[in-house]
Each structure stands twice: as structure tokens, then as C-alpha cells.
């Protein structure tokens, strides 16, 4: 039998916990992680009768900011809706969410893939509230409502992903984006970023969406997300190859291996009986307000990386590291603020290479002035320091709190320009290696061995080009 080749069709729903002090609709503390159970609750988030939800202004603004940076249009007239269902993690009997007027619609996020950049369309970005936490053991369900009412931003994509790599790249970009914007810490260990996967397969060449869709909820990490995709592709492929069509259903996650299982039938959308939340008046977002939020959006990681490569001719990997976090790019941009463009690649290399390595392994150190990195670069450019001694100078400078120039002088680490010392060593090396000198006629590369010997005795504090010239002069070899 001819093997049928399938293509994966994936859409994502992502929930991101907004970085606010208080909950979405009440003033309870939103920081629930490891807090005493049921210590961050009030009549509103416990769903007690008569409580009135009042939206958190900051949370709405963070949602607008996220939507804007995902290139969404903003619904200037927006509202909240009730999504009704009975489950004890929602004591009100409904979740306050958004239905037909989400804050953001029709966005796009470009992600880096193996074949270059790909645009993933964003269907919607809306604001809602988290539910409480339920745990089940021995016939009982235990409930903690500290998480109930914590603001969540939901981002829904179109089914634009065709493989696991695209999904992973998107998830990482989105995580970086919301951290960049200071919208969320997106700490997955704390459940601040969660995924829902919609996955199905179709024959290669088929243009229409598959006739079924499998949903997997509550995926708490990118590595598990990858495993679930692998598992579902295998499972669905074997059903399709046998001539059947996989059931349209919601599947649960058995454990961290990515294996899924069929869950009981869930409510369909009409069963949620969405209707406008009568306790919260309509929301109008003015153009002025949208623009003021747009102004707060910093240059985003992808643009920053592209600019570093274009303007400073930086290596792709170095540009990636530099644009990855505000803590890094802010420091780097401050560092190069007054330097000429020419030396930026050298500074970037030193900063992300030797400097990061030393910083990581030496927790205890004296005060190190960042601009010393520029002095260090200047020493290299002026030929006063060789690449091999840079790390040594930087380490001593870092540990002792002395400037590189001071360190070089004090520790005698600079390039030896005293030709007498150098000449003496070269003479010794020539006398001690008669065989190599003989070889020189047949193999001109043998001279590098001599240079190496001299460099070793000089402990790297000499310029190899100068040594080579000196040796050639000594031996009467033409130095053109």
C-alpha cells in the first residue's frame, strides 16, 4: 500500500497572567503563588450574592498593549460577557470573559523558522479572569480560590502552524514579547503562561481545513507542548492511515510525557450561553488612549535584532543574545552610546563573550565600571593587548576593581614592545630547533611552529605578526 503523507494543521490558544497587583474585578492581591489557601478572596471573587465586579484599569491597558504589539486592530467599543458553566472552580457559575467584542482582533506575529520568517495570524486578544484551583483526591475535591479572578489575557491564533518548530518558535517569541512589554512575567513554572492546542492532519496538497479538530487543554510548558504535538501526530496518523477519521474531541494530558486521553464530552459553544455582563458597563477606548499606549511599546526583540545586524554588522548569534532581554539591551545600548560604530562589533563580542562568562562564574567581585570594556577594546585595537590575554586582563580587572589600563601596567600583561627581550627569546628558539629551520626550505608553514614557541615563552604577551617578521629577518627569509 502506498503511504499517504500528511500535513499538520495547528492553532494555539494562549493564556497569559497579567502583571497586576490586584485581581481583575476586585482588589484582592493577585500574587497567589504559594500563598495560604483562600487568603486572597472577597465576596466578588468568591461569587457571593450581591458582589459587584469592577474592572482593573491596568489590566485592560496591558491587554490593549499586548494586542497592539501583536499588530491587532483595537475594538474601540468593547464589553465583557458571561460564559456560563457549572464547575466548582468558578463559584459564580460563570466566567467573566469577552465574546463578540474582544479588545484586539486580526493581528499577526512574525516568527523565525528554518525557512525564514513566517507570519502567524492572530484571531483575537481578549481579557478574562482565571478560575480557582481544584485538586481531587479520595473522592473529594479541594478548592482554593486565591487564583479565582486573577487577570488573564487570552490570545487565539489562526490554524497557521504546519509543524512543531513553528509552534515552539511562536511560543518562545510570545513569551519574550510579553516579558519585554512588562505585561507578564510569563513564568511557566508558576503557571503564568498556558497553552491549548488545536491539532488535526490533512493530506499533503489539501487546501481545506480538516473535517475534525482535536483540542488539548492545560499544557503548562513548551517542552510538554512539543511532546503532545508528537504524540497527537502519531495517534491521528495511524487512525487516518487505517481509513477512519479521528473523533472531534477534547483530550486531557495524562502526564508530562505528552500522552493524551479522551475526556468526557464538553459543553459546545452554544451551551455556554454567552451574554453581555450586566454588572459591567460598556467600555470605550479612545484613539488618544490607544496612541498613548502605543508610545509605551519599546522596540520589539525582532526589530532590535535586525537593527543590530544592519547598523553594526553584528554576528546573528550575538545580536540574538543582545536583543533577548531588557536587562541586556539597555546595558549594551548604554555601553555603546558614545562609541564609534566601528568598534561596536568588538565591544559586542567582548560583552556577550568574555564579560558574560566572567560575570557568571565570579559572583564576588569589586566594582567594575562597564565603560572599562571600551578601554579594553581600545587596547586590542591599538595592538597593546593580544586576544589571548584579554580574558586574563578582564578577569583581574573584574575581581580587583582596577581599570584594564591599570591592570595591564600593574600585572605586566601588555604586549612586550621591548625588542631586546623578544630578540633574546627568538635567538633561543632558533638555536633549540635546528631541525625545524632545515624544514623551512621544504615547508614554509614550519615557521608557525617557531612563532608558537616564542609566543609560549612570552606568555602570549607579544604580537604573533611581529614575531614572524623578526624570525624571517633573522633567518634572511624574504619578507614581502
Amino acid at each position: 500500500m502506498k503511504k499517504v503523507l500528511f500535513e499538520t494543521v495547528i492553532g494555539l490558544e494562549i493564556h497569559i497572567q497579567s502583571k497586576t497587583k490586584s485581581k481583575m474585578f476586585c482588589s484582592c492581591n493577585a500574587e497567589y503563588f504559594e500563598a495560604e489557601p483562600n487568603s486572597h478572596t472577597c465576596p466578588t471573587c468568591l461569587g457571593l450574592p450581591g458582589a459587584l465586579p469592577v474592572p482593573n484599569k491596568k489590566a485592560i491597558d496591558l491587554c490593549i498593549k499586548t494586542a497592539l504589539s501583536l499588530n491587532c486592530r483595537i475594538n474601540k467599543e468593547t464589553k465583557f460577557d458571561r460564559k456560563n458553566y457549572f464547575y466548582p472552580d468558578l463559584p459564580k457559575g460563570f466566567q467573566i470573559s469577552q465574546y463578540d467584542k474582544p479588545i484586539g482582533i486580526d493581528g499577526v506575529l512574525e516568527v523565525e523558522t528554518e525557512e525564514g520568517f513566517k507570519a502567524i495570524r492572530i484571531t483575537r486578544v481578549h481579557q478574562e479572569e482565571d478560575t480557582g484551583k481544584s485538586t481531587h483526591t479520595n473522592g473529594l475535591t479541594y478548592l482554593d480560590y486565591n487564583k479565582s479572578g486573577v487577570p488573564l489575557i487570552e490570545i487565539v491564533t489562526e490554524p497557521d502552524f504546519r509543524n512543531k518548530q513553528e509552534v515552539t518558535s511562536f511560543a518562545k517569541s510570545l513569551k519574550q514579547l510579553v516579558k519585554y512589554l512588562n505585561v507578564s512575567d510569563a513564568n511557566m513554572e508558576k503557571g503564568q503562561m498556558r497553552f491549548e492546542l488545536n491539532i488535526s492532519l490533512r493530506k499533503i496538497g489539501e487546501k481545506n481545513l480538516p473535517s475534525y479538530k482535536v483540542e488539548v487543554k492545560n499544557i503548562g510548558s513548551i517542552s510538554v507542548l512539543e511532546k503532545v504535538i508528537d504524540f497527537e501526530i502519531m495517534r491521528q496518523e495511524s487512525i487516518l492511515t487505517s481509513g477512519s477519521i479521528p473523533t472531534q474531541e477534547t483530550r486531557g494530558l495524562r502526564d508530562m510525557t505528552g500522552e493524551t486521553y479522551s475526556q468526557r464530552e464538553k459543553e459546545s459553544e452554544s451551551d455556554y450561553r454567552y451574554f453581555p455582563e450586566p454588572d459591567i458597563p460598556l467600555i470605550s477606548i479612545s484613539d488618544d488612549h490607544i496612541e498613548s499606549i502605543r508610545k509605551e511599546i519599546p522596540e520589539l526583540p525582532y526589530s532590535k535584532k535586525a537593527r543590530y545586524i544592519k547598523d553594526y554588522h553584528l554576528d546573528k548569534k550575538i545580536a540574538q543574545i543582545l536583543s533577548s532581554k531588557p536587562g541586556i539591551y539597555l546595558e549594551f545600548e548604554q555601553l555603546i552610546a558614545n562609541s564609534s560604530t566601528k568598534i561596536v562589533p568588538e565591544i559586542a563580542k567582548l560583552y556577550t563573550g568574555e564579560y558574560f562568562a566572567i560575570q557568571k562564574t565570579n559572583k564576588r567581585h569589586k566594582e567594575f565600571k562597564l565603560e572599562w570594556l571600551i578601554d579594553l577594546c581600545q587596547l586590542i585595537i591599538d595592538g597593546r593587548l593580544t586576544r589571548s590575554t584579554v580574558k586574563d586582563v578582564l578577569l583581574k580587572s573584574y575581581l580587583n576593581g582596577t581599570s584594564p589600563i591599570e591592570t595591564v601596567e600593574k600585572e605586566d600583561l601588555g604586549i612586550v614592545t621591548d625588542s631586546e627581550v623578544l630578540e633574546q627569546i627568538i635567538n633561543e628558539v632558533i638555536i633549540n630547533n635546528p631541525k625545524v629551520i632545515e624544514d623551512l626550505n621544504k615547508n614554509s608553514n614550519a615557521i608557525m611552529f617557531l612563532v608558537g614557541q616564542v609566543m609560549r615563552q612570552m606568555k602570549g604577551q607579544a604580537d604573533p605578526n611581529i614575531i614572524q617578521k623578526l624570525i624571517k629577518t633573522k633567518l634572511g627569509i624574504n619578507t614581502k
Binding site: S22, C28, N29, P88, L140, D144, S284
Partner: protein, 97 residues
């Protein structure tokens, strides 16, 4: 045309998490049917003449992001069932969603 049959009533009862008796199925079928017929009048209104209107003239009612003291856990748990463990609400096990 009848909109409500026995099956629909049982489904609503399930979604609402309220058990009803056979007699009640009859009663509610009739009542809900009547309500629906009445509300159906809305369908005769032309769509372009309507837009979503709020029941209030209020708009943009927000609060600043300030966290205030919550109820103490003992206050929050006042109406809990008799069982108690680690300040958690405890109920008969419900299936995992």
C-alpha cells in the same frame, strides 16, 4: 412550531445542575415554550435598526490597580461544609474538566 421538547428540558436541567422530576419536565416545557414565543417577537425587529445597547448610561467604570486587604481565610471559609483541611473548601469529588 414547538421549540421545546423533553430532550431540551433535560439538557437545560443538566447544564443548570438542577435535577427535576418527570412532572416538572411537563410544567417547564410548557412555561419555557410560552416565554420563547413571547421573546420571539424580537426576531421581527429589523437587524439594521438595532445595535447593542447597555441597560445603563454608565461607561468606562474602572478601578485603579491597588491591592487591598482580603477576607481572612476563616471569614472566607465561614459557610463551608463541616469538613476542613488546610483552609481549603471541600466538596464531593467532581470529574476533572
Amino acid at each position: 412550531v414547538k421549540n421545546i421538547d423533553r430532550k431540551t428540558i433535560l439538557k437545560i436541567s443538566k447544564l443548570a445542575n438542577i435535577e427535576i422530576t418527570e412532572d416538572e419536565v411537563e410544567i417547564y416545557s410548557k412555561q419555557i415554550e410560552e416565554i420563547l414565543q413571547y421573546v420571539n417577537k424580537l426576531n421581527r425587529v429589523k437587524k439594521e435598526e438595532t445595535s447593542f445597547q447597555s441597560h445603563t448610561n454608565l461607561k468606562n467604570i474602572f478601578r485603579d490597580d491597588i491591592s487591598k486587604t482580603s477576607l481572612s481565610s476563616s471569614e472566607a471559609l465561614q459557610n463551608r461544609s463541616k469538613k476542613i483541611k488546610d483552609n481549603l473548601f471541600i466538596i464531593t469529588e467532581v470529574l476533572n474538566r
